[in-house]
Each structure stands twice: as C-alpha cells, then as structure tokens.
C-alpha cells in the first residue's frame, strides 16, 4: 500500500495539521518510504494470534465512585491562550 498526494492531504486534514502543498509532495515520498519498510510485517504469519495492546498483565484497577479531586478552575485555566469568564475561548463555531 502506498499514499499519493491526495491521501497525504486527507491524512493531514484528519490530523488537523495544515500542511502546505509543497510539503505534501515531500511527505508522499517520506511516508511511502516508511510504509514500504513496515510492509515487512506481511511476511509474518499472524493467523491465529490475538493482538496485544497492553503488557501490564492486569486489568484496569477499579476504585469506588467518589469525587476525590476538583474545584481547580484557576489551575485548569492557568495556561489557557484565551479565556473569558472561566471558559476556554475558541473562534466562533456557530453563526
């Protein structure tokens, strides 16, 4: 499998990175270099193998459903680029 410029543009859009046109051209080559190389995995017979997502060997630990933290509005907003009235501010989404 390999990517073309249209696919690179689609991936960039999915990743929310505004990649300029000329850079998209370069990325076609760079990404295909990596994808060609990882295609080596096709040699491996993984027919009956279960995927491994975590090596912890234990499930997710549980705790009682209690509030143990919170009310830290100032801390949460301490690094916000733009804030107003205790909210995050973003460009207008709905007209």
């Amino acid at each position: 499998m390999s990517v073309d410029k249209a696919t690179v543009a689609r991936i960039a859009r999915l990743a929310r990175i505004n990649v300029p046109e000329d850079r998209q051209e370069q990325l076609v080559g760079e990404l295909n270099g990596i994808l060609d190389w990882i295609a080596e995995l096709d040699e491996v017979d993984t027919g009956a193998v279960e995927p491994l997502a975590s090596v912890t060997g234990h499930g997710l630990p549980r705790r009682s459903d209690e509030v143990t933290d919170g009310n830290r509005v100032d801390e949460v907003l301490a690094n916000v680029p733009e804030t107003a009235g205790g909210f995050f501010v973003v460009p207008k989404v709905v007209e």
Partner: protein, 493 residues
Amino acid sequence: MADLLSLSAVEARAALDAGEVSAPELTGAYLTAIEETGALNNYVAVTADKAMEMAEASQVRIKADEAGLIEGIPVGVKDLFCTAGVASTACSKILEGFTPTYESTVTGNLWREGGVMLGKINCDEFAMGSANETSAFGPAVNPWQAADGADLVPGGSSGGSASAVAARSALLATGTDTGGSIRQPAAFCGVVGMKPTYGRCSRWGIVAFASSLDQAGPFSRTVADNALMMQAMASHDLKDSTSADTPLPDLMAALDKGVKGMKIGVPSEYVMDGMDSEVVALWEKGQAWLRDAGAELVEISLPHTKYALPAYYIIAPAEASSNLARYDGVRYGLRVEADSLDDMYGETRAAGFGDEVQRRIMIGTYVLSAGYYDAYYLKAQKVRRLIKQDFDTAYETVDAILTPATPTAAFPVGRKVDDPVTNFLNDVFTVPANLAGLPGMAVPAGLNADGLPLGLQILGRPFDEATLYSIGRVIEDAAAFDAVPSRRAGGAS
C-alpha cells in the same frame, strides 16, 4: 573535598552524611559545572534559585538525621516531566510557555527522597528521535568528541540527560524510554541507563508519547547510583492505571549478589547487517566476563526480532497521533489565530510541531484510519504478541539476556540521512524490550578504536530489575570503564 564532581551519588550521600560536604556546596559545584559546559546545550532551563533552596532544605534534613534516599543529590530532569511552577515543554514549540500547576509522580518521588532539581534537560521533541536533533531548542551535544573534533550526538530521545550525566553537569538525571530513549543515549555517552519494567514508574505527569510503551528511568555514572535512583523514583500510583502494584525489591542489596549459577541468554538474531565489528567484539567480551564470574551463557533464539522495529513504527505513531491530539491551541501552549476553529487547530499544529513529530502523527493517523486499521495496526499488535512470546519462551530457560546496546557508537551531529528509516535503525536492539514491557539496562563496557564509548544491554524478566543490577555490577567491575569525555566539567580541556 577536592573534586566534588567526581563523587558518585553513593559517595556523595556518604560525604553529605559525614559532614565532609554540605548539600549547598555540592549543588553549587553542579550549577557551576552547568555554566562551564553550556556549549553542550544539554539544559533547556537551569533552575538555580530553586536548586539552592532545595539544597538548603536538604542540609537541614541531613543535620536532623532525616535524610531521604537521594538527599542533597543534584538531579537533572528531562523536559518531558511536568514540574510544578517550572516551564515544561517536551522540547516542542507547541508547549511554549506551558508551566504546569502540578508535579509528575516520578519527580515528586525524587524530591520527597531529597533530590535537588538543577533544571530541565534537552531531549528530542516529544521524545521522538534517536539523536536529540528534533528538539525545538536545537541539538544537545555529546561530551565525547570525534577524533577530528567534530560534535557527536548524545543519542536520543533522552540525549541531554545522558550528555549531562557524562559531562558531570548532573549527578543523576531522569529519562524516558519508549523505544530505547534511555539505553541508546546511555550507551552513546558512556553512562548507565535503566528502562524499568512497564508499570514500575508512574507515567502520571510525564508528557505522553506512546502510552503502552513509555517508561521513565534513571541515568547515572555507576550501576550502584542507578539502583539508588531507581529506588527513589519507582512507586505504585493510583493516578496511573497501568502502574504496577508490585513491590520493588532491595536493589542496593542486589548489587553484590554476583552472577554465579545464573543462565544468561545470547540471542543469535541480534547479529545484524551494518553492525560495527567492534560492537560484536565487545559483546563477546561481555559474555566472557559473565562466564568468568560463574554464569552459564546459553544461545537462545528470539525469532521475531527483525519485526520489532516495523511493528514499533506502527504502534508508537498510532498512540502518538492519539496522545498529541490534545495540542489544539485551546487549553495550553501555542495558539495561532485563524478565522475558523478548524484552521486555528490546523495552523497551530502546523506551526507548533516539528517535521519528525508531524510525520509520526501522520503515519499514526493513517494506520488508524478506516480501511487500514486491520492491515497495519492490528497486524502490528499481533506481531507484538509474537515478540513478547519469544521472550516468554526464552525466560523459561534463562534468567536474563545479554545484547549490544546499539549497533554503532555515537555519530556526528547533522549527519545527513536520505530517509527517516535509517535513523530508526539505532533502536534495533532496544525496541523489543518496550514492546514486551521488559526491563533493560545499558552499561558502558568499553571504547571503540576512535575512543568512543560502547555499551552492553541486559534484558530481564518483568519486575526483575534486581537481577539486571547484579549482572550490571559484574560487567561494570570487569570492564573497569574509567574513561572520561573530553568536554566534561572540571576537565582539563
């Protein structure tokens, strides 16, 4: 004390307790060392005032006989760890100006045990790289120099940490290791680096790269110092659901256990094309040292080794693309204004992420996208299980595994490579341990013909760091590695 910088952490602890040196004196010596070696660019921020305050507080606790495990010991912190009130950027433009209001669990543990924070240390952007060249602060440099005087990379991603410990501008330093980011730079800089078992150190408050692979660990100049720091940083943490509730054995006690009667595996698949012959020779020497010390060396097979790197370069970018979605210009860090929300996201991320990070996010996005998920991501996860099974099988017969740490010694800064894959090959010996969640240690074991350090890697069973420290100590003693880099603090040149 004539030369404070030459003391190991264990020696410095004894000297502090005996009153031969004070914590502020020791920290002062390291702050001077940082200035002296500034050209190595291994610190991105020096917190001198905070360091002196912490050292004064340490001195009070030492006097009161309340010293922690690393009381008064100056520590450098990879900029991937969030430190309360101190800018933490992951060496990325996108986190410019981010000052956490909280402390990572690992650094919190270190301060609780009396560690003194010297500052934040250079690394690859979001820990993505093997040469410390993707940092937004520019490359950190290896204190070891090429024969022609050229600057060498310290390795990566924890390149600044390894560089600082080797250059004597930190006595200990934290690192993180997702595919070799502690062990490879340790080998390149001639210091000891440990990636503990996945779950040993809490990931809470560490900027996430690939969450199922990331582990924090210590850098030091000696194996004993490494064990000491490991004891101070590991903990079970309810704030990290993957943190292990497995007690850490007494690692200091493991140091002198020796290797008599141990079975140590030598994987035949770790002989690879493009490996320095000197690396192979050192590996054989390491086997001889362990045999002489009473271990039995056993040839083993890890048949899926060659597939570890390609599997890693699917899994790690996939997890990264998800983790790095949070950098959106809304909650912290850089924001590039635009008319629409989508363009604000897109412009912010285009300006804030460097080329390597963008490339990995895009690979990750692609392998997780509809139509490709099974072919790439699931396939890689299946291969990951096979790699783990290789190790499980090996550990039925051996107690640990000995390999080279890296295929080559450190290479020049700015080395031109045509494709990104060439750089990935640095991690060929280290990546399998991350995929399998195993502990791994790099120990300096010799110099190559150019006078550059080479390291050996020891891999262990899950949660058996103690055995790695026993073996590491034997290698350290046999290698008697006492070479020092030319560009170190307090050095002649």
